[in-house]
């Protein structure tokens, strides 16, 4: 088949429509995510499982050994509760402030994402719930790395 311009235009339009459709199905209220995570109790369980994974991860453990893990636990629970639509308000420092000067690179960030995924797997969260949470956390990346 010849790649005539009319045909390319048609295909580009089809591609744009596909992009839009996916974008639309992606925008969903996060009302139910807090419930899907198991509310306060489930979020605490996830946070503990996450901290356990970090303990075994030599790529990132040094960063956590330097921080106050009790405070990290408290603020992480608060943040998950807040972004998942739960009845909380995050009272910690901004992501930029927390991570400034820590010299966190892409490799460290992705290691943490992997630890969080392992933690979510360990407490048997469904893939859809995992993906919803990850998609809410992902935009924080630029506030965390190379700060």
């Amino acid at each position: 088949m010849h790649g005539s311009f009319a045909q390319i235009k048609k295909l580009l339009i089809a591609y744009s429509i596909a992009l839009l459709l996916i974008a639309c199905t992606t925008i969903k209220p996060h009302q139910s995510l807090y419930d899907a995570l198991g509310k306060q109790e489930g979020i605490a369980r996830l946070t503990d499982a996450f901290i356990e994974e970090i303990q075994y991860d030599k790529r990132v453990l040094p960063y956590f050994l330097k921080s106050d893990i009790v405070r990290f636990r408290e603020k992480f629970i608060e943040q998950l509760c807040t972004i998942s639509g739960g009845p909380c308000r995050y009272t910690g420092d901004t992501m930029v402030d927390v991570h400034s000067g820590m010299d966190i690179n892409e490799h460290h960030f992705n290691a943490i994402v992997e630890d969080l995924i392992l933690a979510m797997e360990n407490i048997s969260l469904p893939t859809s719930t995992q993906n919803q949470l990850l998609s809410l956390l992902a935009p924080m990346r630029s506030d965390i790395i190379y700060r």
Binding site: M1, H107, T127, S128, N131, Q132, L134
Partner: protein
């Protein structure tokens, strides 16, 4: 043969090792027949391996397509540098199952990420790639009246990954525009004696991760139709890819390659395995 053995050795060594590069599982794509990162029959905007901007990564791929009258096998290596540049070398081998047609082609590829991050960016990732191909066996291309036995394709590639896409599953969409004079990937040469005309061709791939380690998807590749009386048709496939670890991926596909060198309805299977460091 030497290349092939070296590729097998690399895949084994790679898959046994522990790939420690920083990117997230499966964001490297798999190894397409023409080398580099992509799906089965088209390249994707992502770069091969899991190297972040501070790392380099090497991968080795072998693939085997088995359609009605032909086999098309490929093996190659790709080097990803600092999430910016990917260079690749692959050798394709195209054989007719019932006669002596046996065509080898070398493909040297380079791809650079122009903008964005398919996974974390708001906008898609854009990459620009070149594939320089040269035939080692030129007789068939010459006998069909091809103008050249080597040539260079240029492609612009764009990809986006949604972590929570349709059905709350991670989804990928990739589209390419390719500028090419190639007849059947260049296996039948480039252009014709009567025309040096180049086409702009559209390629698209979509994939959905039904599980964190398993993706299903489809690809479509628009093809030119340069040689009179030797029809060439668009290619498509449906695939399933399995990522047991960052060191290994296995892809199975069902191919529909249409008419190739006067033999119609070339459908069949595709298998590919990739090891990464």
């Amino acid at each position: 043969m030497k290349y092939r053995l070296a590729t097998v050795a690399l895949i084994i060594v790679g898959s046994l090792g522990h790939a420690d590069n920083g990117k997230i599982l499966a964001t490297s794509g798999v190894g397409p027949i023409e080398g580099g990162a992509g799906g089965g029959i088209i390249p994707w905007a992502m770069l091969s391996g899991y190297a972040t901007r501070d790392e380099v990564g090497l991968s080795a791929t072998m693939s085997e397509a088995d359609v009605k009258d032909y086999t098309l096998s490929s093996h190659g290596v790709a080097l990803g540098l600092y999430d910016r540049v990917e260079t690749s070398f692959s050798q394709l081998r195209f054989q007719n199952k019932t006669n002596s047609v046996d065509i080898k082609q070398n493909i040297l590829g380079i791809k650079t990420r122009l903008y964005g991050d398919a996974l974390y960016g708001t906008w898609p990732q854009f990459s620009l790639g070149l594939q320089h191909k040269s035939l080692l066996d030129k007789a068939v291309a010459n006998s069909l009246g091809a103008r050249d036995t080597k040539g260079t394709d240029i492609y612009l590639s764009t990809a986006k990954i949604w972590l929570a896409g349709p059905l709350m599953r991670t989804a990928l969409l990739n589209a390419n525009l390719r500028y090419s004079k190639a007849n059947q990937l260049g296996l039948l040469g480039y252009g014709t004696k009567s025309s040096d005309h180049a086409d702009i061709l559209f390629e698209v791939a979509a994939a959905l991760f039904i599980h964190r380690r398993i993706a299903v998807g489809l690809e479509y590749r628009e093809k030119p139709d340069n040689i009179n009386n030797v029809k060439e048709e668009d290619w498509q496939d449906v695939f399933i890819a399995y990522f047991p670890s960052k060191s290994l991926s296995i892809t199975l596909a069902y191919l529909q390659l249409g008419e190739i060198a006067t033999l119609k309805d070339q459908t069949g299977t595709y298998f590919s395995i990739q090891g990464s460091f």
